[in-house]
């Protein structure tokens, strides 16, 4: 009897997780993984929708060939500058939101209000609000032209790097708007560090500078990784980015191929981030 209960317990322990996960898994299989696999299938086929049904005609790697080698215009001209820009924006967004969250964690008058204001961009970012706003030239900083920073940059750097830097600087306001969720995540992460650790460090004579590097930063490393991943995902799947914008829903095959190539690139990017930051996280959490 006792053994039976124990066994039942172990069984339920083992499978309880699956039961809780089940609703999500079903939805996921139906609406995410099946469509994705289907789009992979479509990328090797010429898909036409006719009155009687959907016709698939196998074309092999023709579309991939087109995108990568024959007609690389769309791909290389738009993707590479975008990648360079992203390369700049990610660290800037992460560091900026980290700094803001540290500031917002201080005690001062109106802190709640400021927190709300900095979280506010979350409700702009996905809507067409920002696009409308940017299309009217409101996201740019006037001082770049005024102090001829952009001309200096184009003089000293090769054009392939100076243009993304200038555009990042130009879109600084955009960076502010992208960092709503990141600020929030950092803020929540900062709260997980208990005050007694800081108190102990203060008693041992540590100054705020040392406390930041020895306590705050190591404890926040998992959140840095989390935020970097979030930022990468956010930037790469933003509707305004050049590849997504060039998605043409009427050409099923070529579009699917383009998306899968794009996906592999993001995957590579993400793998790189995980490799670099993941190691840093492991080191810091071990030393703690």
């Amino acid at each position: 009897m006792n053994g039976w209960i124990r066994m039942k317990n172990r069984m339920s322990q083992r499978y309880e997780g699956i039961f809780l996960i089940l609703p999500w898994i079903i939805g996921f299989l139906l609406f995410v993984s099946f469509p994705l696999l289907y789009s992979l299938y479509m990328s090797f086929h010429n898909v036409r929708i006719t009155g009687t049904g959907i016709l698939h005609e196998y074309v092999g790697t023709k579309y991939y060939n087109n995108i990568l080698f024959q007609d690389g215009g769309v791909f290389y001209d738009q993707l590479l500058p975008f990648l360079r820009q992203v390369l700049f924006m990610i660290p800037i967004i992460v560091i900026f939101s980290f700094m803001i969250s540290i500031m917002l964690n201080q005690k001062f008058l109106g802190r709640g209000l400021f927190r709300a204001v900095f979280f506010l961009p979350v409700i702009f970012s996905s809507g067409n609000v920002i696009e409308r706003f940017l299309s009217q030239g409101r996201g740019q900083l006037g001082f770049l032209e005024q102090f001829s920073i952009s001309t200096a940059l184009t003089q000293y750097l090769p054009a392939s790097w100076s243009t993304p830097i200038v555009s990042v600087l130009n879109s600084f306001v955009l960076i502010l708007w992208y960092s709503g969720v990141q600020i929030l995540l950092f803020l929540a992460g900062r709260q997980t560090i208990s005050a007694s650790v800081y108190e102990a460090a203060r008693i041992d004579g540590a100054n705020p500078w040392e406390m930041f590097w020895k306590i705050t930063l190591p404890a926040m490393m998992p959140f840095v990784l989390l935020n970097t991943i979030y930022t990468v995902v956010d930037l790469f799947t933003f509707p305004g980015n050049p590849i997504i914008a060039s998605v043409n829903p009427t050409q099923y095959g070529p579009t699917s191929a383009l998306i899968w190539v794009y996906f592999l690139i993001i995957l590579l990017f993400m793998g790189l981030v995980m490799l670099l930051l993941g190691r840093a996280v492991r080191v810091t959490t071990q030393t703690r």
């Binding site: 997780g17 609406f31 001062f108 997980t192």
Partner: protein, 298 residues
Amino acid sequence: MAMPLIRKPFRFRRRSKLFRMSRFEKVVVFLLVLFSAFMLLPLVYIFNHAFKPYEELFVYPPTIWARNPSFQNFVELFQMTSDSVVPVTRYIFNSLSVAVLSVIAVTGVSALCAYPLSKHKFPGDKLVFATIMLTLLFAPETVSIPRYLVVSHLGIMNTYWGHILPMVAVPVGVFLMKQFIDQIPNELLESARLDGAREIMVFLRIVVPVILPAVATIGIISFQSAWGNTETSTLFMQDEQMKTFPFFISTLTTNMANNVARQGAAAAAALFMFIPNLIIFLVFQSKVIATMAHSGIK
């Protein structure tokens, strides 16, 4: 007698430290005010844009403040909506119910999935999480055609299910929540189990309150994506009765050959579209901000 002698330098040092802190605080507050001005800019812009009369809507360079605010745009919008076939309230009702239901579904399902992924070992949990990470990288635009097939085969075309179900399985929600649940010490859950709490109780009474910031964040994000969603109306709804308010708004403005006409109504509609987002934000954000400090983690 010795006491004041000792106390004096101590007090001096404390005061100087206090002074330094307040100076630092001043810098912080100054920077925050500066940045938050930028943060508030779009908000101010949306409100003002809706009140601009036609001659100001197309001024270049665009202005932020409306010089002669008027209700003309709203009047125009009202006139346009009053002669539509399906009453506009029907669209709004559809939108609101879809948005509210999908917020509940998304947050609930994501949290239910994230908890075992983070705290239970079961066969295939690593695989599930790896898949989530991979699918994070796909833009939702990529799967619209296969999704159409799934929805039509399930027979949920022209139902509210068709609006909600495709939106439910979002990987971002699970990902964020799992990261938060990872931070909960196992001892906390273990002690609740020792006290006899069933798994569902542990989930509802401990996990959910602790990850409330993540739940509220996902709530805000999923509300605005559901509220602003025109895709499900375009693809899955043929019945005009089942379409949503943002779809209706987009038909008002995009089907026009002349791009200038109805821009005023579009600006007013943008404000209408934005206000529920703002309300939801204001309601949820206090939950978001009341972070883990009081949740009993550390």
